[in-house]
């Protein structure tokens, strides 16, 4: 059972976020492993452990100057990573990213590709399915549980009403929601081992793409400040909060009564 996990390094969501001169998310600060991806890595590790053989590897696209985030996924137990890093990919849309990741994944063998339902910085949410389509694979998305039954993968897929049990033959692409499992903490041994695990940094040319194949086709024409809500009254509860809330609900006619 070999599982490839798509991971992404993102700007620390806890730090202030801004757009750069080209109206793209500024990626100059500290980059960390997207927390959403830790669930994918954990699911992959558990599937491999349950199968009793095989390994978990990683693919990623982004600037390779700082690979701390990739190292933290390796420290959890993945054995190697391929990072597609290329100035041509600055501002790449999800389809282009999917093309290079699909090409990177194809280089090694796999039974399953696991990804987060969406990244925590871009929230695009189409990349895993685009990878599936590029590789002619079934996709099982929004999974809250993942299991292997023989040569099939079975997931619980979130729905508005509850969940569907969805099945497809492997190889397949699975996207997992956050919270599907509790991601393990890297052990000291894992962190030390991660230092020597290979990270293969490749360019689009290494994967056989011409510059024309990865050109940016999605453009930001402007950024506007939204008509934002204005913060209203803020009170500190000193025992009066309930009375104030009730009065407000009367003002907006959710409750009857009020100025009587």
């Amino acid at each position: 059972m070999n599982v490839v996990v798509c991971v992404k390094q993102i700007p620390d969501p806890a730090a202030p976020q801004s757009l750069d001169g080209e109206n793209r998310l500024s990626r100059t600060g500290k980059m960390i492993l997207d927390e959403a991806d830790t669930y994918g890595v954990e699911v992959a590790l558990r599937l491999v452990e349950a199968a009793g053989d095989g390994e978990v590897s990683l693919v990623s696209m982004g600037d390779a100057a700082d690979l701390t985030g990739i190292r933290s996924a390796l420290a959890m137990g993945a054995v190697r990573a391929t990072v597609v890093s290329d100035p041509l990919l600055r501002g790449a849309d999800a389809l282009t990213t999917a093309k290079v990741l699909a090409a990177a994944v194809k280089e090694g063998g796999f039974d399953l590709i696991v990804a987060a339902t969406e990244s925590s910085d871009g929230y695009t949410g189409t990349l895993p399915v685009q990878v599936a389509q590029l590789l002619d694979l079934p996709a099982l998305t929004f999974a809250t549980s993942v299991a292997i039954e023989g040569d099939h993968v079975v997931v619980h897929r979130q729905t508005d009403a509850g969940y569907d049990e969805v099945v497809a033959p492997v190889p397949a692409v699975v996207t997992v929601t956050a919270g599907v499992v509790e991601p393990r903490y890297a052990t000291f041994k894992g962190i030390m081992a991660a230092k020597s695990r290979p990270i293969n940094v490749v360019t689009t040319a290494d994967l056989g793409f011409a510059p024309e194949d990865v050109r940016v086709r999605q453009e930001i024409v402007g950024v506007e400040t939204s008509a934002s809500r204005v913060a209203g009254e803020k009170i500190v509860d000193d025992g009066n909060a309930v009375a104030r809330i009730v009065a407000y609900l009367e003002d907006i006619k959710i409750l009857s009564g009020g100025a009587s």
């Binding site: 969501p13 976020q17 757009l19 999800a94 389809l95 925590s120 695009t124 189409t126 990349l127 399915v129 685009q130 599936a132 389509q133 002619d136 694979l137 079934p138 996709a139 099982l140 998305t141 809250t144 079975v154 897929r157 979130q158 729905t159 009403a161 509850g162 969940y163 569907d164 049990e165 969805v166 099945v167 497809a168 929601t177 956050a178 919270g179 086709r217 999605q218 453009e219 024409v221 950024v223 506007e224 400040t225 939204s226 934002s228 809500r229 209203g232 009254e233 803020k234 500190v236 509860d237 909060a241 309930v242 009375a243 104030r244 809330i245 407000y248 609900l249 907006i252 959710i254 409750l255």
Partner: protein, 322 residues
Amino acid sequence: MSVEHVWVVAEPAGEGLSATSRELISQGRRVGDRVTALTWGRHGERSAEVAGALGATRLVDFGDLGTVIPASVIAASLAALVPSEAPDAILIPASPDGRDIAGRLSVMLDVPVLTNVTGLREGDGLLSEHPVFGGTQTVVARVRDATPALFVVRAKSFVAEVVASTPAPRDALVAATSVTPPATIRHSHVQERSGPALDDAAVVVSGGRGLGDVASYALVEELARLLHGAPGASRAIVDAGWVPYSHQVGQTGKTVKPDLYIACGISGATQHMVGMKGAAHIVAINKDPDAPIFAVSDLGVVGDVHTILPALIAALSARGDS
């Protein structure tokens, strides 16, 4: 450049079309000269009535797909029609199946897809609006050298509007065969919930991590019940397993636009804010005076949900009108 032909991927729901699909048909009529709605499922005739009322000029119906997850088959069916129909833009609901269809279609047509769209405007072709940083800023984007433009649009971005009383002419087509091995639904599990639906409720009371533990969510449910509203949740407590995903408000959950939104122990992550900041009135209760949720609140209460909620519930229970 005006937009001539707009396609709307009209997702079936119940015996008709999903709410977001209906909104997109209306919006398609506003920005395009003609709108083709494309659907599947077992209720094509009813869907033709719904689509026609909203101004669709035609409904293409691929019929019942059985238990197959629709993405592969529907994307292949749409891709096969694109050359002869030449849509300028394709609007797709931001639902799980909608996103999956968009991803596959994007590869089949080799065009990028713009997601998380909350607005469309005419410029050089169609431009899309995307909220960023919790909706404080709007990015305006477009694709270039690529037709048709694919837009995945969030729920409640547009208003559905009945403009006609005749059904749209319905073309029943045979769905394409997909080369991709299918993913199929083996069982559907329905988790019961009572009270008004989260997306339609006039009042939504949501809880977050600040509740401290799963037992305290009962306070949120009780307050929602007293206000005839629906209980909601932040992603944090859905991920923690306190409440089902169907309660989730935000980027990955429901977009709600109630008359009143009460956020209890929710700090106001970007993820959450985009799903609720369209509420007419927002009340927030949070211990942290610097919580981002207060920036969008009409009434912000810095305090402990564990003392305020029980007292508020008691006060409302004592009134005759709630």
